[in-house]
Amino acid sequence: MKVQDHAQAAAQFIKDEERTDWHDETLWFVRQKRDLAAHGIPEWEQLREWASQIKDHTLSNLSHYLESFEQKAIANGIRVHWAADGEEHNKIVHQIIADHDLKRIVKSKSMLTEECHLNEYLIQKGISVVDTDLGERIVQLRKEAPSHIVLPAIHLKKQDVSDTFHDFLDTEKGNNDPQYLTEAARQHLRDYFIASELAITGVNFAIAETGGFVVCTNEGNADMGAHTANVHIACMGIEKIIPKAEHLGVFLRLLARSATGQPVTTYSSHFHRPREGQEMHLVIVDNGRTRQLGRADFRNSLKCIRCAACFNTCPVYRRSGGHSYHTAVAGPIGSILNPNLDMKANADLPFASTLCGSCSNVCPVKIDIHEQLYKWRQVIVQAGYAPVSKKLGMEGMAAVLSSPALYHFSGKMGRTTLKYAPFLVNNGFNPWYKQRDMPAPPAESFGEWYQKNRS
């Protein structure tokens, strides 16, 4: 399915230097807003520790909490469904739609439904879904995927949005004013909300103690959909469970501050029972999560609350764009989640990192992201999924480094080449030559210098 790996797609992305710089700076600005928000809370580091511990505890009792959540949710009048994988999730959602014979469907942001490719599945069944988050609507009209889990259209400039809206919403050609464009989307989507028969939402947190779930948005689109439609389907991965409502105190303090630097999202809506006359469904999805739970080195990734702080801080993400990760969840967290879903197809992702560790430093639930990236590399190479060039290079390096004679000889060869025949390395066949010059060769190696000066 994938046509390009991360490095190839990133090479495409950075061809437009101005846009790459804009992307880089804009996301860094979001990272700075996150810092400001975090520094305003003296107990920030304590909060991260609590969040991490609550998630550790929950994962260590996951089956228990899932069962008690289900029991309470059913008692609340919510219909609970379980899906082993994305295919089953899509079938369940389609069945509910088919049972009611509904046509007008709105959806608010849910990375899980992106992961399961729900929209594509429903289109094949002749059902179209309107995405209502502004960023998601923009990319949906353009037939693109979101490039960021919090800011889905961050790869686009306002003139792109203006062109798209001119084509689909009949806005003025060349009017790039975000206020004007947002107003046009508001009017356009309002009609869909008012007429909607079924609403699909994601879930940010599911509370085992009370059998309810929380959905966070700034735009109010999840609420507009859920409170209008007669059928509400909420979709969640099994890792969204938290033990008690009081734990939301910790997570809601962290989520928006980490994501955008806001003190909290505009709406943190707590759904416990369907409104009178409404049907409320909840689809609980595994799709590889219990497998990840069994991998001691990687289970920490299930603590993720999808804030995208690791995206915004990542020097590779900022300069390669979300689409280069060719998966629903991009960025550093996506690079440790996706190899679990399909190790072969996503073998390139753990290598799309400098391992600088900035992701782990900003993660609100203290996932050791950069360490997991490093560990996935070992697993992927051992499984035989590393690219041939990387494998040959590593084998060559291992041979050189394990033989002192070969090592000294290679060093000398390298210095001689750089000195007398630089064109042999200063060319397009050498990936190190891209965007940089090779260094001037030293006159002698450290070993030679040491021999001369040891006395």
Binding site: S63, G135, R253
Partner: protein
Amino acid sequence: MNSRDRILQAAAENQPTQRDLPVIGFERLIRYDEPAVVFEQVLTKIGGQLVRVKDLEEVKKRFAEEDQDKFCVDATDCTEEDRLKIKAWKATDLALLHTLYIRGSFGVAENSAVWVDELAMVNRLLPFICEHLFIVLEEKEIVPTMHHAYQKTDVSRTGFGSFIAGPSKTADIEQSLVIGAHGPRSLTIYLIENDSL
């Protein structure tokens, strides 16, 4: 075995050994000398505004001054008859809802969120579909942080409830902040002052 049982079994088999829940030490949390002042500062920053009022009577007077040619609803003090009527409204009935007055249970200083449950909003759609939202809040009901907020109420007491912080907004186009995404274009908090009670 069905998917439910398979998932629960796989989770039970693969989950790590027991880790303990932390105790949330309230002594570690930020303190504010004047929570209401912080509440107002944060609210202003996120695009809302605060108006200090003496009592509910003053709120009612202000409601009477709203443009009554527009669709305006005061749900701060409903009769049972009103509640039934408001509850029955559908999206098509509410499409032109201009101004809504409702009560908030309590506010949170650190993020200026206000808890509004289903009892207070009467109809779940109201605070989201209106163009301009006004929430009445008592100053003594402002707590410092979200931890304190969750001690104030059982969030499952009514079928639905939301923390509302400011007007609806988006920055999905080039990170330019626009107020009034799908929900209200403005949010005003009427704060009933302590000493006037």
